[in-house]
Structures are given as C-alpha cells and as structure tokens.
Point group: C2
C-alpha cells in the first residue's frame, strides 16, 4: 500500500479521466509532465481557448467587407493576440507529450502551418495596405480549420476522417452519375438543339452542350423544375418522357443509390473508429489499474483496494457525492470482497459516464418554518389538488384559450388586458407548485420544463410591465420590447407538448441526440465559413442592397446594370449578397435549401457557377459529394436516423442494467412516477463521509435514478449505436485473449502488467 | 407407393408451387377444385386479366376530357366487357376456394363493391347523358383499386398493409409537426403582421393566419424559398434568424425524425409480414410432404422417394432440365439414401427459387461445318485476339471517339459520313464475337449486354439506311426517323459502362433490385391515377394551351383571364394543365418534384390548395404523410437503400452456399472468368433422362453456375432482406419445436402429420 504515492494517484486519475472522455494523448508519465498535463486538461484554459477561437472567427464581422467596420490595425492586433494564445497552447501541448509523438501528429503540423501562413499573410497584407495596393486576406479561409485542429474536437475530426475514408467508394457512384448526366445531355443536344426552340427569355434553347450539362445538373437539384422542360414540352408532349425519365433515373433512383453507398461506407468507417475508441479506452483503464494494483495474498491476482479506489474516484470526479461513489463501488465489488480485480476496475470509465440522478429527500421549507400550518387539512387538500391530473388539464385548456387570444388583434383593449389575467394565472401555477414541491427539487438540474416555464413567465412579466410602463409614459412603444413580449407569449404555448406523453417522448429523444447533432452543426459552420470567405472575395459589392425608403434609381437593379430586368432584381433578391459575413451566411443557408445562382453569374462570369456547384457538392457531408434530392443533408439525415433509432428503442446497455439492478437491490430506486412528479417527501439525511458497500442501505432518504438514456459524451452515444455490431473481443483483453469478460478475480495472467 | 395417384401429385405440386411463389390461397383439396385451381393459376388467364386491367385503365385516354376522343357508347361498351371479365375471374376464384373463406376475404368484398359501384355509375351516367344533363364518371377513381385487388398483386397489397399498420405511430409525429407549424405561424403573425410589409406583388405580407400557415407549410417543401422570406429579410436582417430557425427545425430536424419513424415502423411491419410468409411457405411444403410421404421401414421416419420427388418437380417446373433436377436432388439427398426426409423436402421451394444457369458446352457451328479452317492457326490467332483485353480497350476508345463525333454538328458531311464508319466498326465487333463464341451461348438469356449491343447496332443500321434513303430520294428528312437515329447513337455509348468492373457492379445491382422498385412504381401509378381523375374533374378546361403559331390574344394568359400577368402565365406554364390524362400525369410528376399550385388556386378557388397539399402528403408512401425534404419518395428511398445493401453485400443465403458447394463437389462449377467471357469450348453431351446422384458426375460438358444474386420473385428478395432478423423458429417446425432444422432423417415425430 505504501508504494502508491500521490503522483501515482495523479497518473491513474489521468488515465481514468482520459478513458472517460476518450482523450487520446500520449503524455509523458514523468511526474512533471503529468502535472503539466493536468493543467492542460483544466477547464479554464480549454474555455479560454474556445473563447479565443470564437473571437478569431468573429473577426470577419469587423474586417473589410465589414458589418461593423473597425480599423485594420485593430482587427490585426486582436488576431495577433489570438495567434499568440494558440501558440502558447501548442507549446504547452508539446511539453506534455514526447517530442517524437508531437512531430508525428499531422494535427500539430497542420496548426503550425496555419499559424505560419496566417502570420505571413498578415505581414504581406499590412505591407500592401501601407503602400495602398489591393490586398486579399486569403488566410481567413484557414481560420475554421483551427476550430477543427486546436480544440479537442474529436467528434469533428472523426467525422472528417470517416468522410475522407469513404470517399473512394463514393467516387465511383459519382462518376457513374456524371456519365449518366453527360449521356442525357448529349441526347438532349441532338434531340432539341436543332429545333430552333427558345427559352422564356428568348435565348436559344439547348444548343450549347456545356449549358445543357449545367441545366440538367440543376434539374437534379429540382431547382429549375419545371422551367427547364417547358420549351421542349410546349413543342411536343413526347419530350416530357425524356425529362420524366431523366428525373426518375438521376434524381430518384441514382441519388437513392448514392445515399445508400455514402451511408453504408460512412457507417462502416465510423464503426471502425468506435471500435478503436473502445480498445483505447480499455487500454488506458488497464494502465490505471497497473499503477494502483497490489497483491493481497502471495500468488493471488492483483487487486485495487476500496480505499485506493475511493481516492482515485475522488480525484477523477471531485463533484461526485459520497453516496453515488459508494453505489458505483457496490456495483464493481459485487461480492463484497473489499477490493476489485482488473475486469471490474476497467468498467469504471463507463460507470462514471452513466448519469445517475441523486435525489435527496428534503421536507418542504415551509414545513420547517410553520409545520402546523403546512400540515393542516386545507394545506394538504391544496397539495392534493395541485398534484391531481385535472390541474394539468385545466392549465392546458388555459394555454389553448391563451393561444386564441394571442391570435386575435392585440390592439383591442379587451384582448390586451386579458394578457394580465393569463400572466397572473401562470404565475399562480408556479407559486402553487413551489408551495407543494420542495423548491430545490423543483429547480433541479433535470427539470427542464420547470426551468423553461419559470424563465418564460418571469421574462414575459418583466417585458410586459416595461412595455406598458413605456406606453403609459407618453405614447412611445418600443418595437423591440413588443417583439420580445410576443415571442415570449408564443413560446409559452410550447408547454402543451409536455402534457402529452407521446410528444414528450419524441421531444426528449430530440433533446438527447442534440449534442450529436451539434457536432454536425460545427462541421457545417466550418464549411460555411470557408465558403463565406471565398464568396466575399469573389462577389463583394457586386450586388447592392438599398433600403426601402431609398429613391436611388439603381435600386431597381440592385446597383448593378447587368441585373437590369433579370428575375433576380425583379424578385427583390438584392439583399441576398456577399457584402458582409452575416449576409453571406444567410445567403449560404438559402443556397442550402434551394441552390440558385443565376444572379451571381450575371454580375461576374459564367465560371462563377463553379463556386455554386462546388458549394452544392461539398456542403455538410463535406467532400462527400452528394448531388441529391437535398444532397447536403444526407449524412446528417442518416446520422439523425441512426441515433434516433438507438434512442427511441427501449434497450439499455448491459452496464446500465447492472447498475439499475444494484440500485433496486439496495432498495434505493425511485419509482418512475415519483420522480416525474418530483415528489420527495422523506426526511433529510446527511452524507456519511466513508462507508462500506452496505452503508448505502441505511439511507432511506437518498434515492437514485439512472437518467438511463442521457449520455455525458457523444462518444458514449456512438458506442451505444454500434454496440450490437462490435465484436465482443473489442471489449475483452487485447493482451490476454483467453480472459473472461465478466466476473471479478478471474484473470491470473495480469500480475505481469 | 401404390397409394400415391395422379391427383395426389397434382395436389402436392400445387402446394409446392404455391410455396415457391408465396401464393396464399386456401383452395379446396377435392380433385375437382384442384383442377380448377390449376386452371386458375395458368399463365394465360393471368396475362389476359392484366391486359383487361390495362385496357380498363387506359380508357381514360378516350373518355371526356380525351386525348383521342371516342364516342361515349364505345368506351362504355369496352368498360362493360372489362367488368364482365373481372366478374368471370372472380367467379372462377369463388369456385376454387371454400365459400366461407371467400366471403371472409375483404379483397373479394372490395372487388364486388367496386364492380357494383362502377355498374351503378355507368347506368346513372348513361341516363344523364341521354337526357343531356351534366354527369360525372366518379367511379373512374376506383379503377386503379382493381389493379390492387383483382390481380395477384401480393407485393402491392403488402406494401399497402405495411403502410396502414405504421400509420398510428406516424400520426403522432405528424401532429407534433403541425403543432410546430402552427406555433411558428402564430409567431410570424405577431412579429410581421403589423409592420405593413408588402410582398413582391404588392399584397400585404403575413397578415392572415391561414395564409401564413400555408406559406410556411410550402416553405417546408422548399418550393417558395427564398421568396417567402425576402420581404421580412429586406425589412430587417434579424428576421433571417426566424426563417433559418424554422427551416432548421421543420425542414431538417423534424423531417429527419419523420423519416426515421416512418422507416422504422414500415420496416417493422414488413418484417412481420415476411415472417408470416416464411411460416406459410413452410406449412405448405409440409402439406405437400404429407401427401407424398411413405414409410420405408416399420417405425422409421416417413420419406419421399426419388422417383416421386422427380415426378413432383417435373409437374411443378416442367421446363427444368434433367441435369438441373438431378443437381437439386443431390443437394437434398446429401448422403445418397435414395429418399429424403421432411426437413430436406421442405427446402425444395427455396431451391427452385435459386436461379441456376445451365451452360451446355457446344462446339462452334463453324467447327462442325469446316473444322480444318476453323481450327487453323490464323483462325485461332483471331480468336485469341478477340478474347484479348486489348480488344475491349480498343472498342472503348472507338466509343469515346464516336461520342465526340456525335457531339459535333452532324450537318458537316465529314461528320455524317463518319457515322457509316462507326456503324461498320460496331457490326464488325459483333460478327467477330459471333465467329469466336458459340452463337447460342452468345445470345443466352443472361447475356444482357450482348443482346443490348446487337439490338442497338442493328436498329441504328436500319434507321440510318432508311434515313439516308429518304434523304437521297428528294430532300425530305423525317424528324421522327432522325430522332430515333440520334437516340440509338447515344444509347450505344452506354456500353462503356460494362467495361469498368465497378460500374458493372452498380448497374447489375440496380437491374437486380428492379422488380422490387417496380412494385413501388405500381403503387405510384395507383395514386397518380386517382389524383389525375379527381384533378381532371376539378380543373379541366380552366387552363388552355395554345400552339406556338397561334395568334389568339388569350394565349398570353392561358385562355383564363384570372391568370393575366401572373407568373404562371408569364413563365409559359399553360401546358401544365388537367385537360387530359396525359397532361395530368406529366403535371403530377412535376408536382412530385416541386409542389407549386399558385396557378390553379387562381383559376378556381383558394380551397383548391387542399388538393395539392393532399397530393403532397399522400403520394407514394400513400397515406403515409410525410411532409419532408422530398417527402413522397422517402419510403421508396428507404426501400431502395435496404434492398441495395442486401444486394451489394457479398453474403449469400445458407441454401445458396450449400448448392454451390454441391456444384463444386461434383466438379461442375464454371470458373467465374470463363462464364463472364462466355467461353464454352467443351464438347456437347446429351442429357440423360434418368439418373442417380452420381450420374451428373459423368457429364463434363455440362456446367452449372448459380446466378447467385438473382431472385425469381420479389418475395425471395424480401426474405433475404430480413433473413438476419428472423427468428430461427420461423424456419423451424411450428408443430414440433424440438426438431432440428438441418440434416435429413432426424425428425421422428413427423409420422403423425
């Protein structure tokens, strides 16, 4: 026991926390490097790093073409500061891991290259600006890549990698699609080119091969349907067959196959990544075990004592309650031996990732202050009333009536005054609930709807009061305040969803797969940012937007004579431009929905189409092709689909089941209904600081509930998704294939580790 | 043995063939009913039935509003004839199955109701027409339902059933989507309604709640993006957030969840259907076994002798070659006992469904006629040249050069004459191949590309000759002939695909899942037909199309003053109308791609939107909602995806593997490369009429190849799709759960069956 000192615990806790969060950093194991590594993983530098990346990315708002113009020296100074922060972070990282590992990692090389290029670009740009030459800040395109590489964006990098690996397979389908496109275009040229047909603008129809290829490509995206077909269809009904066949083959059948191949490959590589992840996790836990292990008896298997285990868990997760830790120990040490073997120890990382809600039963504070009143018959009756099903139904009806009132004209005084009534009713509901339920339980971390209700109602109350105060003090009404009031009122209606069980299931599932969806959100931001930077350089100032009250004659053609009389100007699309980063982002979202580019090829050159086709091909699934029905979102859809199935199904992982069994065994389970009503009426208890496996039994006031389907990390969700597909060997020992995977004390070969 | 007579064989063969094709008809087992049933399943009445359904459906071409007008009495006479045919078929069916079964089947009731309603409608319509009143042939909507119910459209009915069963689950997600739509609309009304904004037409923007709901619904289909957002976006950039949020939540996240739930449920019910199918198949085979079984030894297991088995298979599939039948027997009777038990017998239905290509090795006919010449050194060299890889590459290059020439202007005499050169080259290729390969092998049933090549080249030759003949005899050139020539020329280029292995894999996969896709094609036809009939009644004649040379001023507004100055008329969409069934179908395809209805609500009433929204919701996945990215095709995409995975993967079913093993054991396997080159150079042999398991061994000239991934029936593909998911019990005995599922002679409990 004496051999295990403080730095050993530091080392073991790093291994465990790396396993828990799936960090794959090969740090030095010298005590000095371990301390540095602990500092590297501290939340403060990580948050700071994210802040500086955000600052770096948002510089685009202030740089030419700017939303809020700042002098060049100011933005460049801020960027220099960001670069220094990134460099410091990188140096810190270099000190943590062995030198050869550092230079072998392409991630680090990538960061160094980006930092170098950005510096070079800034110097050139500054010099050119100083000599009044035209200069382009091309290194801005590289900024989002820092988001991918500097941060611990494992999910992001993994998504990139999976997409890259799936590329070759996908490329063949893409080629076949291109072949089909070219063949159809050739046929269209031969059939329609010589008929002297005209498009709606009077231009010759289908006479230029490249134009045809582009038009038919756009038809796959359905953006120019049915316009592209009308001249031919008007000439002869028979040509409709050509276009219907084209849409059937290229838009529907082909793109389905495309989706199939993309999805299949993407999933395959993601599965391989997850398999490696599980192996790496196990490996780290085995190392942690090797640090803490001790020999209980001569020739016996090495074990970790409960005291050491407790100290380790306290280091890894200081915020874990003692009772929760004891529960985890009793799951690991199933047979009450006071120590656990390697197999049980290795589970720790996964056990820590299962979110267990600890409910402390406290009496209502009013009961403490004035028990005679709170426990009186009328008070008890009130409590029963509020907890009754009818209470929920009454309030659902009130919300529905409120919805009708919101829809009516709010300038009618009756309607606008009724708002006060509804606000009072909602406030009353919250106060009643606070009277009945213990406030800390009511506002616990997992009571999403309680928080939602209270914030919305209180905010609406404040906004409404400000609004009427402004109204009564002079006739001035702030449009902004009024907008906020309206939004809050409408948001309140969402509460109805929570009352219908099926709806709640769907919404909860969505909330749970949120983090996974956010990963793809980041991916989209990276691609959008790059395209916005490039688009701004190419198209900035080509299309101008004039305010509604402007009388400039150029307003009719967006300030660009090339757009005179074009649909782009006629439909008033002038604000769809690349003149600043916000407009660019809005425009890119529009392009994601329907890819239209006619306006921009007119103001620049036909070849500008390349930009739009590229965007159409590249967006979210990144380089993953996909020219489909709504191509850019296929991988996204596929992922949501997969994650949704896993979440929607009732199955639980083995580990969760065993944890739940233990909770039930210890009679600490919270009945489902009880938890949902936040009904905690038992007496308060004090956490004991130390205890054996049995001690938890003596705490009837403390209850556990597994938030069974909530995952701390996206990795855990991914692992669940592929659990059925993974080989059992991935979970087993890699260094000892004969070892059984369940039960403690059964691995005699491990003393050598 | 003597107990088994002819009618027993008839009965057993019906059971087997019902199992093979998954027919689920509970026919009487009396010899008379069996004979009627055999006639019912004959191909001639079945084909006739399909012809009459086709005639019935195509009547829409000749009825008001007609493409080719026929007098009412003519179409009604034809329809009457069709009804009589359907009635006869139904009576035949009623004679085959027990009376109580007939009246319990909703399918039959459905047919009787449709026939009755159609008769009533025809009488009313005739009477009204005779008295010159306005009459509507409403029963035309019912016609496609006959396609579903009269024919043995099992796949179609199964798809309908699966969709119907999945409805309740899907309904909840749809409700939640509607709730979200209503909430967003309310917010839009409150935020934008009072700002006095105008749309591009000068109409007030977002002031009417129902209009907003409809506009935002259309935004989900992305059809009116970005127009619907522009007025708000032009007023303030901040409103872009509202629309982006809306698109993100409703178009992307929500619809992904939608797809997930629809797909999950659809798959679940389809799986259940397939499970029942497998059970029913097994049950039928057990009955067939019970008819033919005999007791070899006292107390032993009942078996079927080889002679009886042979006679049965000959009855079930008369076109099966003797060698093929012997192969199947040797797979069933693995241990050469001369008889097989129940377990081996039950496999027969699946064995018959595995397509085995029998290659008979024949010498080239020229070798027979003139062996000295054909086997001479130059002739052999030529054969080697043609079979060389370079030959394929040379011809691929020729095709590419040809593609460039096609793209060039064909009025240039050099170009138009070059066509003769290319034609000659292609003809030469075919002749050379015919010289090298045995013609019957070259034109075998499975040589898709050989057939394709020959037909295209010969047709192009004929068309080109006709074309130049017409050209030289006077300057008249038929546009039709020229079009055909062009199409054939371009189609020839597709051949390149066959040379690249990866492309071939993809194309072959597509061809293989074709039948399954066609099932969904039928489903779409049913829905389109119903919508076309309704649409024609509502919208016929409201929008008129004028030929290009017409000088009628009404041409500018499609003959309907309500359309004056609308985008519909400006974009020349007049031919998109419901004036006849062909136009309706083309328009419905356009609506499937992009659902636009502005023109039609103008010429009738705003409530006409209901028709278009309904179409958007209902199409292919039928009632299956789905208001998605490209909603109508989701189930289709999902199905293609699933089928594609199964086909694309290399795994084979167990039965196929055992059949292949047997073929290899008997040394009759064709090497993969050999088959692909159609290289059959061995000597011809004569089929022996009878033989033992070993007799196949003495036929070195006969080779087998499993067309391993081709399925005779869609059911077989479905069974494959869910093979991994089905319980082993589904394949096992239902009446004897303890029976092993593999190996012969192992089921002692079966003598009681």
């Amino acid at each position: 026991d004496a051999e295990i000192n403080g730095s050993d615990f530091d080392l073991a806790s790093i291994y465990v926390s790396d396993a828990q969060y799936n960090r794959n950093i090969y740090f030095d194991t010298s005590p000095q490097a371990v301390r540095l590594y602990l500092r590297y993983n501290h939340w403060l530098p990580q948050v700071l790093l994210y802040v500086f990346i955000l600052v770096d990315l948002s510089l685009a708002l202030f740089e030419e073409p700017a939303v809020f113009a700042l002098p060049t020296w100011a933005t460049m100074l801020v960027e220099l500061l960001c670069l220094i922060v990134f460099t410091i972070r990188l140096i810190h990282y270099a000190k943590v891991i062995p030198r050869d590992k550092f230079w072998k990692d392409p991630k680090n090389i990538c960061i160094i290259v980006i930092l170098g290029l950005t510096m070079v670009d800034m110097i050139i740009y500054g010099a050119l600006k100083a000599s009044n030459c035209r200069a382009v800040r091309w290194s801005r395109v590289l900024r989002p890549l820092l988001l991918v590489n500097v941060t611990e964006g494992r999910q992001l990098r993994r998504a990139f990698r999976s997409i890259r690996n799936a590329l070759p397979q996908i490329f063949y389908v893409f080629l076949l699609f291109m072949f089909s496109l070219l063949i159809f275009s050739l046929m269209a040229l031969k059939l329609l080119g010589k008929r002297g047909l005209k498009t709606i603008d009077g231009a010759p129809y289908f006479t230029n091969y490249l134009e045809i290829v582009f038009d038919l490509y756009v038809l796959v995206t359905t953006a120019n349907s049915p316009d592209v077909m009308m001249p031919a269809y008007n000439a002869s009904t028979g040509f409709a067959i050509f276009f219907i066949l084209y849409i059937l083959i290229n838009t529907y059948i082909f793109m389905s196959v495309f989706l199939a191949v993309v999805y299949n490959n993407y999933k395959k590589y993601l599965k391989e990544e997850v398999r490696q992840l599980v192996r790496a996790k196990r490996h780290k836990m085995v190392r942690a075990f090797a640090v803490l292990q001790e020999q209980r008896e001569e020739g016996g298997e090495p074990v970790v004592s409960q005291a050491n285990w407790n100290q380790l868990v306290r280091l890894v997760q200081p915020d874990l309650s003692n009772a929760h830790r004891e529960l985890l120990w009793s799951v690991s040490d199933d047979t009450n031996q006071g120590c656990i073997g390697k197999v049980a120890f290795v589970q720790l990382a996964d056990l820590l990732n299962i979110e267990v809600i600890t409910l402390k039963s406290r009496p209502h504070p009013l009961q403490g202050v004035c028990p005679a009143f709170y426990l009186s018959a009328p008070s008890r009756l009130l409590c029963q009333l509020v907890q009754h099903r009818a209470f929920v139904i009454v309030y659902d009806l009130i919300i529905l009536v409120n919805a009708v009132f919101i829809g009516l004209d709010e300038e009618n005084p009756l309607i606008s005054n009724s708002e006060w009534v509804f606000l009072a009713l909602y406030l009353l509901e919250i106060l009643l609930k606070l009277y009945v339920f213990e406030p800390r339980a009511f506002f616990s971390r997992h009571s999403f709807w309680n928080w939602f209700d209270t914030i919305i109602v209180v905010a609406a109350l404040i906004a409404t009061i400000i609004n009427s105060a402004m109204k009564s003090s002079g006739d001035y009404t702030s449009r902004q305040i009024l907008d906020i009031v309206f939004i809050l009122r409408v948001l309140r209606l969402i509460r109805v969803v929570d009352s219908i069980k099926r709806f709640r299931t769907i919404i909860n599932t969505l909330i749970r797969i949120g983090p996974a969806i956010l990963t793809f959100g980041q991916l989209i931001i990276v691609v959008y940012y790059i395209f916005a930077m490039v688009g701004m350089e190419i198209f900035k100032g080509k299309v101008k937007f004039y305010e509604a009250d402007s009388s400039d004659p150029a307003k009719a053609y967006c300030g660009n004579p090339s757009l005179k009389g074009t649909p782009f100007a006629q439909l008033n699309y002038c604000k769809n431009n690349f003149n600043d980063v916000v407009s660019s982002f809005v425009l890119l979202v529009e392009l994601t929905v329907v890819n239209q580019c006619s306006g921009f090829t007119l103001v620049t050159h036909v070849s500008a189409r390349i930009y739009f086709v590229l965007f159409h091909i590249v967006v979210p699934p990144f380089i993953t092709i996909i020219v489909t029905i709504r191509p850019q979102l296929h991988i996204f859809v596929a992922f949501v689909l997969e994650a949704f199935f896993v979440e929607y199904s009732v199955e639980k992982s083995d580990l969760q089941t065993s944890l739940e069994k233990k909770i039930e065994e210890l009679e600490l389970a919270v009945a489902q209904e009880k938890l949902e009503d936040n009904l905690v009426n038992a007496m308060e208890t004090i956490d004991s600081d130390q205890g054996t496996g049995q001690s938890a039994n003596s705490k009837p006031g403390l209850m556990f509930k597994i938030a069974s389907k909530r995952y701390r990390t996206v990795d855990a969700l991914l692992q669940r998704m592929f659990e059925a597909d993974l080989d059992p060997e991935d979970f087993a020992e890699t260094d000892d294939p004969a070892a059984p995977t369940s039960g403690n004390f059964s691995n005699p070969a491990f003393s050598s580790a």
